[in-house]
């Protein structure tokens, strides 16, 4: 029983940071129908920005300041990765807005390599140990164990997700995002500065991925320049499971994926972890490509 609860907690934790990455993937796909292959690398970049900040600031925040330091670092990493996402869209994707899909896809793969090997040049190719790990105090719940730092990170992730959901559903910007995903040209006639809203979407999506990067560094205890590759594929899987382009779907898909991995690895061994994601990706793409919460389209043609 306590073992099962532990698996659920682990699955939920991993699921929340998959969700943060999947959200950006899904938002960008929703608004401009671009599979942003570089999105996972933004997450990796978040991990490295966090690494640098924690290393530089470790003197100031030594000792018991671990959790507070982590929160501050997460916020700064979000701003940094958000800006990188914004620049990426501006220089790599915007000039290709009306180009064939394949060209844009190739550009995205190129951007992904540029980020990966850019970081490899800057930080060296070897994994780096994260200056803060989520050790420390823990809550014991019916025999299962979750650390305070994990709880804080999950809480932050949940707040970010609720914030995003409210933004998209209730605000002027959010309405514009949803409208652009349906008909960008008509949005121009509503007076929407479409480029600006797309920039904003990239900023938000990339910032969320950056937050997840810091979480991952703290959780796994190490980062490397290729860590974004697998997570990118997993975020994509989560987005597909939930229904790509759907905000709540991305979160649901990520949680489902996190739990599946947690239980799956307990059952078959951790070397199988990544297999679950791709098995489910293939399953969903074949059986239910619109995902669990795929758009219920009620369009009259």
């Amino acid at each position: 029983m306590d073992y099962v609860l532990q698996l659920i907690l682990n699955g939920l934790f991993v699921g929340t940071f998959y969700a943060l990455v999947a959200l950006g993937y899904s938002m960008v796909y929703g608004i401009i129908k671009l599979l942003n292959f570089a999105h996972g690398d933004i997450y990796m970049l978040g991990g490295f920005v966090g690494f640098t900040l924690l290393t530089v600031g470790s003197g100031a925040l030594a000792g018991g300041g671990g959790i507070i330091a982590l929160v501050v670092v997460m916020a700064l990493a979000m701003v940094a990765t958000g800006l990188v996402g914004l620049v990426l869209e501006r220089v790599a994707y915007r000039p290709l807005r009306s180009a064939p899909r394949l060209s844009v896809l190739i550009t995205a793969v190129g951007a992904s390599f540029a980020l990966e090997y850019g970081v490899a040049v800057g930080y060296g190719p070897n994994p780096r140990a994260y200056p803060v790990t989520v050790g420390g105090g823990a809550v014991h719940l019916l025999g299962a164990r979750i650390t305070y730092a994990q709880l804080v990170m999950m809480a932050i992730a949940v707040i970010l997700m609720f914030g995003l959901d409210t933004l998209v559903r209730r605000t002027r910007s959010g309405r514009a995002m949803r409208a652009i995903s349906q008909d960008p040209r008509a949005c121009l006639l509503m007076g929407v500065n479409v480029d600006q809203v797309i920039s904003r979407t990239f900023f938000i999506g990339s910032a969320l991925a950056g937050a997840a990067g810091v979480m991952a560094g703290a959780y796994y205890g190490k980062i490397d320049f290729l860590m974004g590759f697998i997570i990118g594929l997993k975020a994509f899987t989560a987005a597909v499971i939930g229904g790509i382009g759907n905000i709540r779907g991305a979160v649901l898909g990520a949680i489902v994926l996190g739990l599946l991995e947690s239980f799956g690895t307990a059952w078959l061994g951790s070397q199988w972890r990544d297999v679950f994601a791709f098995a489910f990706l293939i399953l969903f793409l074949t059986v239910r490509p619109t995902g669990l919460l795929g758009e219920r389209v009620t369009e009259r043609v």
Partner: protein, 237 residues
Amino acid sequence: MTNVLEVDAVDVAYGKVQALTGVSLTVGEGEVVSLLGNNGAGKSTTVSTISGLVRPQQGTVTAFGRDITRATPWSIVEQGLIHVPEGRRIFSRLTVHENLLLGGYTIKDNSLIESRVREVYDLLPRLADRRAQQGGTLSGGEQQMLAIGRAMIAGPRLIMLDEPTMGLAPLVVAQVMETIAAINSAGASVLLIEQNARAALKVAHRGYVLDSGRVTLTGTAAELARDPQVVEAYLGK
């Protein structure tokens, strides 16, 4: 009468296809002007050029005394020049209410948006009944009303409607025309693109006939309605 819109000698080409050649037209303050023409004559291209979606190779567009030839579509909307596109272009997965709110995207004052939405619901009660419904579930006539209502939220000084009666039953056509007349009497100037010349010339003060990208005829609505060329081409015998 001052002109709210002046299109001067505009040429537009889509690649090798010359869509407009030397098109000039004006809309005066408070006026309803109709733009008639067959399929492919260049009517939609003309309004899209005015609203900044399409860039002309030659010529200028002036609205409210300002040159907007190279202005962005959103800054044109901010000035109160609203284009209701061909085919309505309702956001089918947003609710009726959200569609209306989006029409007020350039308005910073939320209470102004709210009060205009209420006015639209008063004028078009069918929309009020369907406010929580997805735009895509509306009938064609309701979608057209929504498209017009959405444009009204922006507070148009000049509204351009591209074939608002396309595919609608005669009763609904009359209703659309009434709504256009109401918008006009509330103070907005109107540029009305129509193939349905009979309906258009009833509400219009003046009109232009476009043929293969050129203005071939212009005059008051009464003159056009009597013109043998118009009668033959657009009004039947």
